[in-house]
Assembly symmetry: C2
Homo-oligomer: 443 residues x 2
């Protein structure tokens, strides 16, 4: 059925995805003479950089998720529709949901990235991703369940598997998660689980390259590694995780690691939409765009952010898949479209402004690099806090998050470690894995 | 397998259930010469009186759930085990989980109450309960999904069904939920859904008796009804909900009500544990206990709170199934046991102290009755707030809840209306309903 939204004005611009890019586009269009419809399978925007704090119970989901309707409830020309886009029909100029279709004059694809398992089906089934609120909550549940279950068994090997955690991938997500787990191990779990010997809990951060946080300078990488090790994290370099079987993780060096939980933060790939012409989507599942973020040969379709790949001289493989690139592209595309619709002006090409990179490892420990300016430690941590607080949407989120962070700082026992779940994810994963192994003839 | 917990001291006391009663028992035993093991299928205590605020997105789950480990992490003699009790073997003196058993010297059953559908299988499948955190989150999800879906359809009748809500049962839970929905309808939804005509949203509160909040005086009941009507709630008295079919609710008066969502708060029943002797459990699924909360003919098993039924002269059908009764019984049982274990003293009988009753309908609107003292309006609302804030466990919960409530007071757009769910509950309910109807031969 055709979704009706009255008052289309000069044009209807449909945005697929309410991430950093999509929200930014809509913000530029606020109160302009166009109708904007944001479409997302979730009714909220996710502040992805803090997902690891939800996974480790430091923040509740409500602090990093913000309802899209609420962001725009004072903007009469911005609309929202909940739904998963199944296809684009670019000849009819509609996007298709399960039962419904929505017409567009201009389409902006901002559907982001998803976890990349590089085609390894075993990993896809058995590893834990952390790329959405739901996945972060699942991870929290599994980590806490393992500790609860460890108390119910006497077999030392099985107990070891339940306490240990392997994180594959030492980008910002992997490093921040490893640091947060290190703090839990040191300060929180000993209080919650006095009956467990926490010195036996091992956190492994496994990285294929020769240093953590490879987007930072080697010096900052070394600093981050030291921070991690001080928090009790075992950093394993030059090693690739191949798979996880029951309670051991297989690596390419031949050394197995005992652990029932493998968290996969070792790569992302584009999350494109069906229906674009052949050749539009590259090997990384990103949509090829020109310097105006326009999809090749499509006058009225644009792609921005993680899902877009603009090959330039400085960035031959596209821009980094991070929030600032998505936001900058969103602003440029929106401005270009406004100028075209209102004044029939030509598009201006996109120029990426590198804002630097930062990551935190734990309390008082962060790393910041902006051009040649490099800093680590307490001041870097304050900068990290300020940048993240400022970027959170909404007064409530800022205050509640600030409150939680301050409490975390002065207390060593903050956070609500709740297991709220409908079903046994681990049991489900076990079943799916068994089916897969039976299919493969693995015994 | 036998669960091992070292240092059993003079006795091991196992408490089934971490609700108001169970937690209270453990608090009395803090630092005493006994080992206490709390067993619950959730790792948190739930502050049930505020669940309606989770269902209506005013509070996040973290504000009303508190990890049981955290409550007792300074008490070395209090232990927690996560698990669902399947059976009591009172001859072997163990409780049984799926794979494990746990020995007790004394057992205190504080397993609470569950929703009572009075044997109506259709209602059990199709109505929405609100008796746990998960159920409150499900209810939130369904209410928000219905509004999102209403925007995707043109059929007026179907749209009406999605907007309307029927609440069966006008006890405190039903009344508070109806009031909160009334406030959403008046102040919040018009901003979130400017495209919907909110005047078409109807909230029906259906009560079998002739007044709402029957535990209060008729005068306060009348006041509550007026408050509800001012908030746009339609109060339907002397009517019983029979079932819900697709998008209409059937009542015993022959008048159907159009609504896709039926919330069932019309009764609770005990939630006992298997394994007690015949005749121990009464018609209301409550465990018969004597004046010491001792289960009939069981010297070492006690039951307290909602699951217990102590027939006394003043309360021939047992005490009211509310928190104060559970807390008072918990204190008495714990003290009796301590006196017996330490000094071999006789048990003292339980005496219930009626602390009165209160309910809120919305901002500035509450009703309080303590003996002959009756009050309604703003002062009653402040009293309601104070009592509930003081009862919330944990500094963080108090501060965050207070912050949220203050924000709710001064703003008309507080709360995070997030749809965070793994699966389509409504689709699942539809399927189960269809199977049921096929079994019944209903067409």
């Amino acid at each position: 059925m055709l979704i009706e939204i009255p008052d289309r004005k000069k044009a209807r611009i449909v945005i697929i995805g309410g991430g950093f890019g999509g929200i930014q586009v809509a913000k530029v269009f606020k109160k302009k003479e166009v109708q904007v419809v944001i479409v997302d399978k979730n009714n909220y925007h996710t502040f992805q950089p803090l997902m690891y704090q939800v996974a480790t119970s430091a923040l509740e989901a409500e602090s990093i998720a913000y309802p899209i309707r609420k962001i725009f409830n004072k903007s009469k020309n911005i609309f929202f529709r909940l739904g998963e886009v199944k296809n684009i029909d670019h000849e009819k100029k509609v996007i298709e949901f399960n039962n419904d279709t929505l017409e567009y004059d201009y389409l902006i694809i901002a559907s982001g990235a998803r976890t990349n398992y590089f085609g390894n089906e075993g990993l896809t089934i058995s590893a834990m991703p952390m790329k959405s609120i739901l996945e972060s909550l699942d991870l929290r549940t599994v980590l806490l369940q393992n500790f609860e279950h460890a108390l119910l068994i006497n077999n030392e090997r099985k107990k070891q598997g339940m306490l240990n955690v392997v994180i594959a991938g030492a980008g910002p997500t992997g490093v921040e998660l490893a640091g947060a787990l290190g703090e839990l191990k040191r300060s929180v779990f000993p209080k919650d689980y006095p009956e467990l010997d926490l010195s036996k809990m091992n956190i492994y951060l496994v990285q294929s390259g020769d240093r953590v946080l490879p987007m930072l300078s080697p010096k900052l990488s070394a600093k981050a590694k030291k921070y991690l090790e001080n928090l009790g994290v075992t950093v394993v370099l030059n090693t690739r995780v191949l798979d996880i079987f029951g309670d051991y993780v297989q690596t390419n060096t031949g050394k197995d690691i005992i652990a029932k939980t493998l968290i996969w933060t070792a790569g992302v790939t584009g999350n494109p939409v069906n229906g674009l012409p052949d050749g539009t989507i590259n090997k990384g599942d990103r949509i090829r765009v020109d310097e105006y973020n326009q999809v090749k040969n499509m006058n009225d379709i644009f792609a921005i952010g993680d899902v877009a790949c603009m090959e330039t001289e400085d960035y031959p493989n596209g821009h980094p898949q991070i929030a600032p690139a998505a936001i900058q592209q969103g602003i440029q595309v929106a401005k270009n479209l406004l100028n075209k619709i209102n004044y029939n002006r030509d598009f201006k090409p996109f120029k990426y402004k590198d804002k630097g990179a930062m990551a935190t490892v734990g309390k008082n420990k962060a790393l910041v690099q902006v051009g040649n300016f490099k800093i680590s430690g307490f001041i870097a941590w304050l900068m990290w806090m300020a940048v993240h607080l400022m970027s959170l949407i909404g007064f409530r989120n800022k205050v509640v998050t600030m409150f939680n962070w301050m409490k975390n700082y002065f207390s060593t026992d903050a956070g609500m470690r709740l297991i709220i779940t409908h079903f046994d994810l681990q049991e489900e994963k076990r079943k799916r894995r068994k089916e897969f192994e039976n299919r493969q003839g693995i015994k």
